[in-house]
């Protein structure tokens, strides 16, 4: 594990970076023009300011799966918090100074022995952004959205997750103003782990339900 820096790119070490295409190189696309026109008009009309847009982008960028992992690790290590999180997610997150905003309510669904949960939004791509940040591209793909509701076991197998036949697969189609995150089961052999160590194994996919945490050998 490299703890000193975060890998958001997917090249191997030592391999030179591919030339980056600047987002503003070349002519603007139709949607870029449309977005710019809308934004400038709304600012001109006083609906919001450029500073407010920048602040909203900062807020969104401050949310990432590590925030969700912190919540899950807390639930694993603090039974009272877990109870509160399942009963009143908004209130429990507020205890950790996490504001989920007013656009949607949040629900936490708990994996249990014999029940594996997975979240999808077939209508668009509703996702708990205020806890996990921007969704991965595959979450918004037509294939994930259509196949997760009809062939969930096949989809999970493609993620490398084989669900035993004795375990129920429960798919949650996030169709309304509720955002779901999965509370995975804490792996055995992690009893003496610190919350910080636990957070390392709670990945984004574990909270979507396309993975489960695995207790790696501790160094």
């Amino acid at each position: 594990m490299h703890d000193d820096h975060d890998h958001s790119h997917d090249h191997e070490h030592g391999e030179p970076h591919a030339p980056r295409r600047d987002h503003d190189a070349g002519p603007a696309t139709l949607y870029e023009v449309l977005e710019r026109a809308m934004r400038e008009l709304l600012i001109e009309k006083g609906v919001f300011t450029a500073q407010e847009i920048a602040a909203q982008i900062d807020l969104m960028d401050s949310r990432s799966p590590s925030l969700g992992a912190k919540v899950i690790a807390k639930a694993w290590t603090d039974p009272a918090f877990k109870t509160a999180l399942l009963a009143d997610t908004r209130g429990a997150l507020a205890q950790l100074d996490i504001d989920i905003g007013q656009l949607a309510e949040f629900r936490v669904i708990e994996n249990q022995p014999g029940i594996h949960n997975v979240v999808v939004c077939t209508l668009c791509s509703c996702y708990p952004k205020m806890l996990l940040g921007v969704p991965p591209a595959w979450y918004k793909s037509l294939a994930y959205r259509s196949r997760t509701v009809s062939q969930p076991r096949d989809v999970l197998a493609e993620f490398g997750l084989a669900i035993p036949l004795s375990t129920e697969v429960r798919v949650h189609d996030s169709t309304a103003d509720l955002r779901y995150i999965v509370l995975p089961e804490r792996p055995s052999g992690t009893d003496d782990w610190t919350a910080a160590a636990l957070e390392q194994i709670i990945t984004r996919d574990c909270m979507i339900g396309t993975a489960v945490p695995v207790a790696h050998q501790q160094d």
Binding site: Q102, E105, T122, P152, R153, V171, D173, A176
Partner: protein, 119 residues
């Protein structure tokens, strides 16, 4: 805020067997096509939420509607479902889309099973 008070109490209770209407709707109704005409069981009453169709037209979304979590058997949804009989799909549906399923015997049985968490 997405939540808002309603003047009427929820029409359905946890454990009730319901059918999702197989109707066409114009606008952002948030009821996916693949569950229309299918039956399930109320497993949770989420509270009352603003009407998504009106919200989509930048209206206040009132009157608000009670939102339910409906649990459906995968084998009821897909005739060629390849998983296990115990597999389920949960979906959030607004009250105007729900009709009671009038089978007292099945309903009572389903209700007990749903509360026990096995349906």
């Amino acid at each position: 805020m997405t939540t808002a008070a309603t003047s009427t109490p929820p029409r359905f209770a946890v454990g009730d067997a319901v059918k999702i209407d197989a109707k066409s709707a114009i606008g952002h109704c948030r009821t996916p096509w693949y569950v229309r005409g299918k039956s399930g069981v109320v497993v949770e009453i989420h509270g009352s939420f603003r009407d998504p169709v009106r919200l989509a037209y930048h209206r206040p979304g009132l009157p608000a509607q009670v939102l339910y979590k409906i649990r459906m058997r995968q084998t009821d949804l897909w005739s060629n479902y390849k998983g296990q009989a115990a597999d389920h799909l949960d979906v959030d549906i607004y009250e105007p889309w729900l009709t009671p399923v009038r089978s007292a015997k099945r309903s009572a049985k389903t209700r007990v099973a749903a509360v026990a968490g096995v349906v």
